[in-house]
């Protein structure tokens, strides 16, 4: 099937840097649909949930746009979903950013602040250790550098969902895979060729 027959949606909830995710997908030869409509999102074959900024604000924006339930539904339906940065963080039960804020509760666990003593935010290129072999890593060597910018990190209770880890004061979960749900703390769309490769692998895997 041609690329154009499959629908790739990038969720637009009035926040997050959707432009760079769209640019990356266009560069890979796709024509993503940018949408905030729950029905359009549920109708897509693969979905991207971008995120940047604070998790609490992101949750508020998602709820206000009525997309929180839609994201849960995508996961229930096992629709291919790729969540980025704060998009990963909101998948957990709650974040301690800005006090205590309830998140989507798709992945049991919490989002905590990075330990003091190092520069915060964790900003720049750092290695991702691949915990599981998975087609998403095709052509991406173990310990490849990806671009990070965040002050909080996810602590999933079920360690089997941790697909990648990164060292910054502690070894934290930098990537989650659970069935057709993929989530990265780093920004593949800002991580040069390996980042583009990861999106391309995700779409190949999802759109078969």
């Amino acid at each position: 099937m041609g690329k154009d027959t499959k629908i790739i949606a990038v969720i637009d909830y009035g926040a997050g840097n959707i432009g760079s995710v769209v640019n990356a997908l266009v560069n890979l030869g796709h024509r993503p649909t940018v949408t905030g409509s729950a029905s359009a999102i549920l109708n897509a074959d693969a979905v991207f949930l971008p995120g940047v900024g604070a998790a609490a604000d992101t949750m508020k924006s998602l709820s206000a746009a009525g997309i929180d339930e839609c994201v849960k539904k995508l996961v229930d339906l096992k629709k291919p979903l790729f969540a980025i940065c704060v998009g990963l963080q909101v998948l957990l039960d709650a974040t301690e950013e800005g006090g205590e804020y309830k998140c989507l509760g798709i992945i049991p666990g919490r989002v905590c602040m990075l330990p003091a003593g190092l520069k915060i935010p964790h900003m720049g290129w750092n290695q991702v250790k691949q915990i599981h072999a998975h087609p998403i890593f095709t052509g991406i060597p173990d310990n490849t550098n990806f671009y990070f910018v965040h002050s909080y990190y996810a602590r999933p209770m079920d360690r089997s969902v941790i697909a990648g880890t990164t060292e910054y004061g502690l070894e934290f979960c930098s990537m989650i895979i659970n069935d057709n749900l993929f989530a990265t703390q780093f920004h593949p769309e800002k991580s040069g060729e390996p980042g583009l490769r990861m999106y391309s692998n995700f779409l190949k895997y999802s759109l078969l």
Binding site: G19, V52, H122, G124, T144, Y147, V149, G192, E193, L196
Partner: protein, 256 residues
């Protein structure tokens, strides 16, 4: 381990990349979109664009430059120069910038940092500081200059940076006014003082002439990233060569 970032800087005016000495004597150094794509291919960790003309027309040109660069360059982009309002910042971020840097506007209206951080997130807000050395003894002090380095303000650099980080600056782009363009090394006393003062990352800028200078800024100066213009623009050193040099000296860099 977090790697140290190597950041080519593109000073842009009238849609062209230029290079000068202590903010003056500008020479043409190419097309910004082509230059950006070239550095991306060479392995630059991030790119900084500074609109040194800072005119309304220049800003318009810069929006288009950023839009075109963001379509083909997949590393973080920071844009600064003449951004005065939240709306200016929003336009650059919408065009594809990941961060905006502000200098004069922040000095005149520090609340802009707080407001920008609340709207776009702290990680978007880069405080650019042009620091002019006041003394040369052990009680080193620097003063903040605005308007592209032309206007000394009498404000103490360290006090200003501390305040700016409190307000919402997520990163410091620190340029030594004295060293900039002279290619005789960064002001590492300045870099170190600022790096030790704040918890946000510091980009050292101004004075790179050799690869040893970059090494010194990252080791002695304790900077998290180094920014350089002329040594890259005139192809004296490639980004790859720079990183191999630093790696051999034990500095963690991204090489693949």
């Amino acid at each position: 381990m977090l790697t140290k970032r190597i950041i080519p800087c593109l000073d842009v005016t009238g849609g062209r990349v230029v290079k000068g000495t202590s903010f003056t004597n500008l020479r043409d150094a190419g097309d910004p979109v082509e230059q950006a794509a070239f550095y991306y291919g060479e392995g630059a960790d991030e790119l900084v664009f500074l609109d040194i003309g800072a005119t309304p027309e220049g800003r318009e040109t810069m929006v288009h430059v950023v839009e075109n660069v963001a379509k083909q360059v997949f590393v973080p982009l920071c844009v600064g120069g003449g951004l005065r309002t939240i709306e200016d910042m929003r336009r650059m971020l919408k065009a594809g910038a990941d961060k905006v840097s502000i200098n004069t506007a922040a000095v005149q209206n520090p609340g802009l940092l707080r407001e920008g951080a609340a709207i776009f997130g702290r990680q978007c807000m880069v405080l650019a500081v042009d620091a002019r050395r006041l003394t040369n003894d052990s009680t080193a002090a620097w003063e903040v200059c605005t308007h592209g380095g032309r206007k000394p303000t009498g404000i103490d650099v360290l006090k200003w940076i501390e305040k700016a980080v409190d307000l919402g600056a997520g990163e410091i782009l620190l340029t030594s006014w004295d060293a900039d363009g002279h290619r005789s090394g960064y002001d590492n006393e300045l870099n170190r003082a600022v790096s030790e003062l704040v918890t946000v990352p510091v980009i050292a800028s101004g004075g790179a002439g050799t690869l040893e200078h970059l090494y010194q800024a990252l080791s002695l100066g304790k900077a998290d990233a180094v920014l350089a213009a002329s040594i890259f623009h005139y192809r004296e050193f490639s980004i790859r060569q720079t990183k191999e040099y630093l790696a051999a000296k034990g500095i963690p860099v991204r090489l693949q």
